[in-house]
Each structure stands twice: as C-alpha cells, then as structure tokens.
C-alpha cells in the first residue's frame, strides 16, 4: 500500500509538471491569480470569457484576501494579485498597480428600520456608541447593534478613512468577515447597522433580502452615483503584477479593462474604471 501512496504522489507530481508548461504564443499558457475575495468571482468570470477567446490560455483564480494577493504577486507565486485595498508604500515599490474599477461602500440597516437617510454626524455617533437607540435618530425604540468588519479588511480601512475615525473608536457589537456575512447579520437583526460593498448590498436588496441601503448626507449609494462620483464613500479595485509582467499577464489585464467585459462588472455591482 506504500507503493500505492508513492504512485499517487508520483502521479500528482507528474500532473503538476504538466500544468506548468507555458506556451510560446502571447495569449497561450497559464495565469495564476490570487487575492481579494471581493474581486475573485468577477475576475474568474472575466477569466472564463478570456479563455473562450483564447483557447490556449488557462486562467486560475484563487481567493485568500487582498494581502495574500499582494504578497503572492510580489514573491512571484502568482502572476497577478487582486486587491480591494490601497497598497502600502513598500508594496508599491515592488509592484505595478492596475486600477480596474470602483466599488462603493454602503451603510445598511434592516428593512424594517424606518430610517432611510443619516447625516455624517449621526453615522459617527451611531458607530462610535454615542447613539445607542434608534429613537435618537428618528427610528423606533430599539437598541443599536453595530456590525463592524474584521481588522485589515479593505472595506474597514476605507470606511475609517472616510469618517476620519481611528480604528478603536468604533464600538462594535459584532465583527464579521465577508460581505454576505455582514448582510445576513443585518438582515437578521432589526436594530443592526453595518456597511458593505454597494454592489453586494444592491444585488441582495433587489433579491428581497431584508436590508436597506441608506443615504449619507443625502448621497444615495447606487451604481449610478458611484459611477458619476456623486457618492463619495468608495474604494478602488486593483490588480497588481510584478515589475516585469509577461505578455499574457498584460494581455489579460487589458482584457479586464476592456469595454467588452463591462457587463460583467455590472453583474456584481462594481463600476469599471474609466478608460
């Protein structure tokens, strides 16, 4: 049975060897892309379309978070890293950035919460614990539950920057990871307030999930307002590559930014970067 084990191992290694073959044409071969879970589904869809147009190419998308994508790209473990946060200075020195789109960050409440717009001051008070009952901002007599994102998440960083708050100022009752986790947590709690990607929030609200996207200082979070800049709370979606990207890498990044795939961005509620 050890022979069997060795056989399996050998087979596996042999199989891996085959996978690494790089074709010589510019659009053939294999691209490894890792990083942001926000971007992964979109890039995978674009990758599928790229493969349809270039049958020799294989685009393998893996998730694991923005930092993973950035470090994989820096170490050469991946051809392209996906990031939904800004790069630090040290990271910028080692990598080439390609801005591909914009995502808004929306504040969400439970659908049964009558509040539908909040001012910047009210939001700061809500998230820092200054207001702990919805009555104080025009809602029902119900305790506020603040849903916050885990440390290091891109959404959190941009959210704090927008409201000019230090990390420890937020008085969180719950901490969540992925967007959907946040949306479910708010949809299951009439007193909850949280923040998620405008894309994810819009898609879920349209499908009948019990959440409401609220206006910040009368700015409504929609795809349209994110696109034309009327909604200020946004973050960039970025692809990063090593300093000397291969022809296939460049071809794929061009493809990602091509108008021909803009419909895919809309499916996820993101706004493609202007040409």
């Amino acid at each position: 049975m050890r022979r069997l084990l060795l056989g399996v191992l050998a087979l596996a290694l042999a199989a891996c060897g085959n996978g690494d073959q790089t074709a010589d044409s510019a659009t053939g071969g294999r691209l490894e892309i890792t990083g942001s879970s926000t971007l992964a589904p979109l890039i995978a869809e674009i990758g599928a379309r790229f493969e349809a147009a270039h049958p020799d190419a294989r685009i393998a998308v893996q998730t694991g978070g923005s930092s993973r994508g950035i470090s994989d790209a820096a170490e050469g473990l991946a051809d392209i890293g996906m990031s939904s946060r800004e790069l630090t200075e040290t990271e910028q020195r080692r990598l080439r950035q390609h801005r591909i789109g914009v995502d808004g960050i929306a504040v969400i409440l439970h659908r049964d919460n009558p509040v539908d717009r909040l001012s910047r001051e009210q939001l700061v008070a809500l998230f820092t614990g200054g207001v702990d009952n919805w009555q104080e901002v025009g809602g029902a007599d119900r305790a506020v539950t603040v849903v916050d994102k885990a440390d290091g998440r891109a959404t959190l960083t941009e959210f704090l920057r927008f409201f000019d708050l230090p990390r420890e100022a937020i008085a969180a009752h719950l901490i969540i990871g992925d967007n959907q986790h946040g949306i479910r947590s708010v949809a299951g709690n009439p007193g909850a307030i949280g923040y998620v990607s405008v894309g994810a929030g819009t898609v879920e609200a349209e499908r009948g999930t019990a959440i409401r996207l609220v206006a910040i200082d009368e700015q409504w979070p929609t795809l349209e307002t994110v696109r034309n800049g009327d909604y200020a709370l946004t973050r960039d979606l970025i692809l990063v590559s090593g300093a000397e990207p291969s022809a296939l890498t460049l071809a794929f990044i061009d493809f990602v930014r091509d108008a021909a795939v803009h419909d895919l961005y809309a499916d996820f509620g993101y706004v493609p970067a202007a040409e």
Binding site: R2, A143, R153, H173, L174, I175, R184, G188
Partner: protein
C-alpha cells in the same frame, strides 16, 4: 521464509504507516513554530500582557493579546461538548437498545447524514435561523451560546456514531449474562454496556472535542467575533480559529505571524486536552482491572 520472519517483514510497512500520523503532526507543529517565531521575537510576552487585540503589520504599533480568544475557544468547546456528549450518548443508546429496528435504521441514517454536512451549512443555518431567534430575545444574538449550540449539533453525530459502534463491540455473552441475572434494560446498560464501552465512548468524545475546537467557518458565522473574555452566555466572543479565518487573508508581517501563533496555541491546547483525557482513560482502565 519462516512465519516469524514474514511476520516481521509485514510489521515494517505497518509501523511506517503508523508513523505517518506522527510525521504529519511534527510537520504541522514545525510549520506553526517556524511561522510564529517573528511574533514570539517581536511581540513576545505582549501576546499575553497587551491591553487588547489591535493587530498591525509592525509589532510596535499594535496590541496583540490572544488570551481572551484562548479562553473563549475553551468555553465554547466545553459548552458544545457538555451538550453533545450526553445527547450523543443517549442517541446511541436509543439506536442500540430502545428504538425498534426499523426506527433505529432511519435514525442512524439521519445521524450519519448529518455527520457529513459541512460546517458552512451549520453555520449558515445558525446565522439565518438561530442567531435571529436568540437576537429577538437578547440582541445581537450572535454569541457564545449560539456557537456552542451550533457546534454541539455538528459534533453530535460523531459522538453518537462512534459510541454506538463501541456499544456494539460489547461481547454478547455479557449481555446474555446480564439477562440471565434478570437485570432490567437500564440495569444492563448501566452496569454492563456503559462500563465495557467506556473506552470507545471516551474516544468518541475526544474526537468530537477535536472537531469542535478546530471548527472554523460555523463558529465565525455565529459567534460575533468580538475579542474579549467571555462574561455571559449571550455575549459575543471570538474563537482562535475564527481569528485566523477572519484576518489571515489580510494580515502581513508580525500580524500574520501572530495568527500563526494563534494556530500554535490552539494545537498546544489540543495536545494538553489529549494528554489529560488519556490520563483519565488510563486511570479508569486500571480501576477497571
């Protein structure tokens, strides 16, 4: 070739196979230690003494106390095991001695089915059904209790299935002897079945504890993930596994290393538990003889 010699030859691959578990263990611990070294060097005792958990890529800027998460992990696991062990044991007894054969088969199928359902599904069920229910009573609902309940359901099949197979292993002549003595059903279970199956039941509980302590996704979804010492059943806390899952993809530098240290602590906890449980098992075995 003499029989003894072929016996010896057969033993070599068996021993090698048995070593594989130890080798994997060693590699895992080695990896965790290696990756934890930066945190141990740069953060050191602050992993215990800092005021809270505010991780940053550079050790000097952040705070890195992991103790609340250690305690929370232990409490969540204890809660889950305390719930699942008796319920699982009773389920096994039900299957083996109380239910009619046809009911037992259906019941066993259901339990087997649930042994294979991913933590994601338990977690999602917890997030969508259980947490809002608890939250209606006392918000936010995502809490230590929610995590223990979801985990208990998750590990219950393990306890039930393995203890049942341990009960099946009790020699029939014991049961026959008990019947001959005129012992009642409960009498037989209490004085014959449970004592002889004790080792297997202990195994079941240890395996279930392992699964509970290591479950990641289900816990993250329902526990609330606030880093603090548990102060009540309805309080949100954060487990060590959850800490790794939430932050690993977004961590770099000393923060990343501190997360590996979380993994190391977790594995250390499991080792201590195993030693403890084995001592317990041994003592029982000796008093048994």
């Amino acid at each position: 070739m003499s029989p003894q010699r072929s016996e010896q030859l057969l033993l070599i691959p068996l021993r090698l196979a048995a070593m594989s578990a130890a080798v994997i263990c060693f590699l895992i611990v080695a990896l965790l230690v290696l990756e934890s070294l930066p945190a141990l060097n740069n953060i050191g005792w602050r992993l215990l003494s800092d005021a809270n958990w505010r991780p940053t890529p550079a050790a000097a800027d952040g705070a890195f106390r992991v103790t609340p998460m250690v305690v929370a992990t232990l409490v969540i696991t204890a809660g889950a095991v305390l719930l699942a062990a008796p319920l699982g044991l009773a389920s096994a007894l039900f299957c083996r001695f109380y239910a009619s054969p046809s009911v037992a088969v259906v019941y066993r199928r259901l339990v087997e089915l649930l042994a294979g359902i991913p933590g994601v599904i338990y977690g999602f069920w917890g997030l969508v059904v259980l947490v809002p229910l608890l939250g209606a009573w006392r918000p936010p609902g995502a809490s230590l209790l929610a995590a223990s309940l979801v985990l208990a359901l998750m590990i219950l099949p393990t306890v039930a299935l393995i203890s049942e197979s341990a009960m099946r292993a009790v020699p029939q002549r014991y049961v026959r002897a008990a019947a001959a003595l005129g012992l009642s059903r409960w009498g037989t279970i209490r004085s014959v079945i449970l004592p002889s199956a004790r080792r297997g039941i202990l195994t079941a509980v240890i395996l279930a504890t392992g699964r509970a302590i290591g479950e990641t996704l289900a816990v993250v979804m329902v526990v609330g993930n606030i880093v603090r010492f548990p102060s009540g059943l309805m309080e949100p806390v954060r487990a060590l596994t959850g800490n790794i899952a939430l932050e690993m993809g977004y961590a770099s530098g000393d923060h990343r290393s501190a997360l590996f240290f979380s993994g190391l602590v977790l594995t250390g906890l499991v080792m201590v538990l195993v030693l403890f449980a084995n001592r317990l098992g041994h003592r029982g075995a000796i008093s048994d003889a």
